[in-house]
C-alpha cells in the first residue's frame, strides 16, 4: 500500500498526473465514501423503482377507470418532466412544507437530502418501470390468463404466480436499459448536495486542481459500475430465460 502510494506520488512529481485519491488518505476516504453512497443510492432506487413498477402495472390492469387514470397521470407526469426539476420540487419545495424535527443542535428537516434523492429518483424510474412491466404483461397471451381464470385464480394470485413471472422475463431487456439509466441519473443528487461520487469528485478537484485526472477516473468508475450492472442483468436474463422464447 505504502509503495503504491509512493509510486503515485512520484508519478505526480515527474509527470504532473495528480491522483490524490490513491496517495492521499483523506481524499481516498472521501472518494470511497462517495462511491459507497452512489452504490447505496443506486441499490435503494433500483429496489423501490421496481416495486413501484410492479404495483403500478398491477393497478393499471384494474377494472376501475379512475385507478387506471391516476396511474396514467403519474406515469405521464414523471416521464415528461425533467428529473432535476422533480428533485428540486421534492427537496426544496415539499421538504419545506413538512414539519421539522427539533433536534439538539436546532431544527432539522424531517428527511435528509439523501432520502429525498431516493424518493424522487425512485418515482422517476418507477414511472418508466410501470410502462415496461405493462408492456411485458401485454405480451402474455390472453389464453394464459384465461387458463388461470379457469383454474380459479383470483386476479391478484394470477398476477403473482402466472403473469408477473412471465412478464418479468419478457421485459428484462427493457428493464435492464432503464436501470442503467437510473444508475446514471443518480449523479443528479449532486445538485442537492448528497455526497455521492460526482459530488466528492467535485470537492476533490476543486481542492487539488486536478480536473482532467478526476474526470477520467469518474468516467471509468461509472463505466465499471454500469458494466457490472449490465453483466449481472445479463446473467439474470440467462438464468430466467424461457425455453422456446429466448432469442438465441
Amino acid at each position: 500500500m505504502q509503495t503504491i502510494a509512493a509510486w503515485f506520488h512520484a508519478l505526480y512529481e515527474t509527470t504532473g498526473i495528480n491522483l490524490t485519491i490513491i496517495y492521499d488518505a483523506f481524499d481516498r476516504a472521501r472518494f470511497i465514501n462517495g462511491f459507497l453512497v452512489t452504490i447505496e443510492l443506486s441499490v435503494i432506487c433500483i429496489f423501490f423503482s421496481i416495486v413501484i413498477g410492479i404495483v403500478g402495472a398491477w393497478l393499471q390492469g384494474s377494472q376501475l377507470v379512475w385507478t387506471r387514470r391516476i396511474v396514467q397521470a403519474y406515469i405521464q407526469l414523471f416521464r415528461n418532466t425533467p428529473p432535476l426539476v422533480q428533485m428540486y420540487f421534492f427537496y426544496f419545495g415539499l421538504s419545506n412544507l413538512l414539519p421539522r424535527l427539533h433536534a439538539a443542535g436546532g431544527d432539522q428537516p424531517l428527511l435528509s437530502g439523501f432520502a429525498w434523492a431516493c424518493i424522487s429518483l425512485s418515482f422517476f424510474a418507477g414511472a418508466f418501470n410501470v410502462e415496461i412491466f405493462r408492456s411485458g404483461i401485454e405480451a402474455i397471451p390472453h389464453s394464459t390468463l384465461e387458463a388461470a381464470e379457469a383454474l380459479g385464480y383470483t386476479r391478484l394470485s394470477a398476477y403473482r404466480h402466472i403473469i408477473l413471472p412471465l412478464a418479468v422475463r419478457v421485459c428484462l431487456p427493457a428493464l435492464n436499459n432503464n436501470l442503467v439509466n437510473l444508475v446514471k441519473t443518480t449523479t443528479l443528487a449532486y445538485a442537492i448536495a448528497v455526497p455521492e461520487l460526482l459530488y466528492v469528485s467535485a470537492q476533490i478537484w476543486s481542492d487539488n486542481v486536478n480536473v482532467p485526472e478526476m474526470m477520467v477516473v469518474l468516467l471509468l468508475v461509472y463505466f465499471a459500475l454500469v458494466g457490472l450492472l449490465v453483466l449481472g442483468m445479463h446473467r439474470l436474463e440467462f438464468r430466467l430465460r424461457l425455453p422456446g422464447y429466448s432469442r438465441t
Binding site: L77, T81, V85, F89, G93, V180, L188, Y222, F223
Partner: protein
C-alpha cells in the same frame, strides 16, 4: 326450460373506433395540472407562517412568467442545437458501426459504449471544464461561451444514442434486403444509401423523438454548471422574492408544467408513430 329467445336488438352497437388515435389531450389533463399547481400554491400558503400581508403566490408567478419563459425558450434552443449536432455526429458514428472493416467497427463501438455509459451530468462537466474558453484557429478566434460548451457537452451522449438507434434500425432490416440488393449487383455504398437507409429512417424516427424528449429533460442540467436557463432563473426569482421557502413548491411545479406541456405532445406523437410503423406480425 326453453332457451331464452334472442331479442332483436333495437339499437346498433357502435363499431369500435378505428384508425389512428388522435392526440388525446383531454380536458382533465389540463385540469389535473392546474389542480396540481393550485394545490401546491394553497398548501404553501397554508404553511407560510406570519400574518404579514405578502403578495399571493399566483401573482408572483404571473409577474415572473415573462422572464422564466425566456429562460425556458433558451432551454429549447439548447436542446435543438444539441440534437442537431448530436444527430450529425451520431449519423457518422452509426455508419462506422455497420462498416465491413472490423477495426473501424471496433473503434466506433468503443466510442459509442463510452459515451452511452457515462452519465449525462459527468459528460457535461467534462465539456465545461476541459474545453477552452476560446478556440484559436490561426488568426481566427472563436469564443466558446458557457452555453455553447453545454450544447457540446449534451450533444456527446446524443451522438452515442443516435448511433445506437441507427445500429438497431439497420439490424432490424431483414437480411433478405441485403441479399436482394447484392444479387441485383448494387455496390456496397448503393446498398446502404439507396436500399437499407430509406427503410431505416422510418424505424429510427420514434426512438429519435424519444431521445429528443430525454435531451429536453436534460437541458436543465446546464443550470448546475452555471448556464442562465430556466432553473437558474428560478433560483434567482426565489432570491429576488426574499428567499421565501413557501414559494419554491409552486415555482418548481410551474416549471414542471411547462416542460410537461412541451414534452407530452411529443411523447404522444411518438407513440402514434410507433404504432403506425409497427411491424405487423
Amino acid at each position: 326450460m326453453t332457451a331464452r329467445p334472442m331479442p332483436a336488438t333495437p339499437f346498433v352497437l357502435a363499431p369500435p373506433r378505428a384508425g389512428t388515435p388522435k392526440l388525446r389531450l383531454r380536458l382533465w389533463h389540463g385540469a389535473a395540472l392546474a389542480m396540481l399547481v393550485l394545490l401546491s400554491a394553497t398548501l404553501a400558503d397554508a404553511a407560510s407562517t406570519g400574518p404579514a400581508a405578502r403578495a399571493g403566490i399566483l401573482v408572483i408567478l404571473l409577474k415572473w412568467t415573462p422572464l422564466l419563459f425566456r429562460g425556458f425558450l433558451f432551454n429549447i434552443l439548447i436542446s435543438v442545437a444539441s440534437m442537431t449536432i448530436g444527430t450529425i455526429l451520431g449519423g457518422a458514428l452509426g455508419i462506422t458501426l455497420i462498416s465491413l472493416l472490423p477495426p473501424v467497427r471496433l473503434a466506433g463501438s468503443v466510442t459509442m459504449q463510452f459515451f452511452r455509459n457515462a452519465p449525462w451530468l459527468v459528460l457535461l462537466f467534462f465539456a465545461m471544464f476541459l474545453l477552452p474558453f476560446q478556440l484559436r484557429i490561426g488568426p481566427l478566434v472563436i469564443p466558446l461561451p458557457d452555453w455553447l460548451k453545454a450544447v457540446i457537452g449534451l450533444s456527446l451522449p446524443v451522438m452515442a444514442n443516435v448511433a445506437e438507434i441507427m445500429r438497431g434500425a439497420v439490424a432490424s432490416i431483414p437480411s433478405g434486403q441485403w441479399e436482394a440488393a447484392e444479387s441485383l449487383a448494387f455496390k456496397r455504398r448503393q446498398q446502404v444509401w439507396s436500399i437499407i437507409m430509406p427503410q431505416c429512417i422510418k424505424r429510427m424516427l420514434p426512438p429519435w423523438m424519444n431521445l429528443y424528449a430525454i435531451l429536453t429533460m436534460s437541458t436543465v442540467l446546464a443550470s448546475i454548471v452555471g448556464v442562465n436557463e430556466v432553473m437558474t432563473l428560478a433560483g434567482q426569482v426565489s432570491a429576488a422574492e426574499g428567499g421565501r421557502t413557501d414559494l419554491l413548491t409552486p415555482l418548481y411545479g410551474y416549471i414542471m408544467v411547462w416542460f410537461f406541456l412541451y414534452a407530452y405532445p411529443i411523447a404522444l406523437l411518438t407513440t402514434r408513430l410507433e404504432r403506425r410503423f409497427a411491424v405487423k406480425m
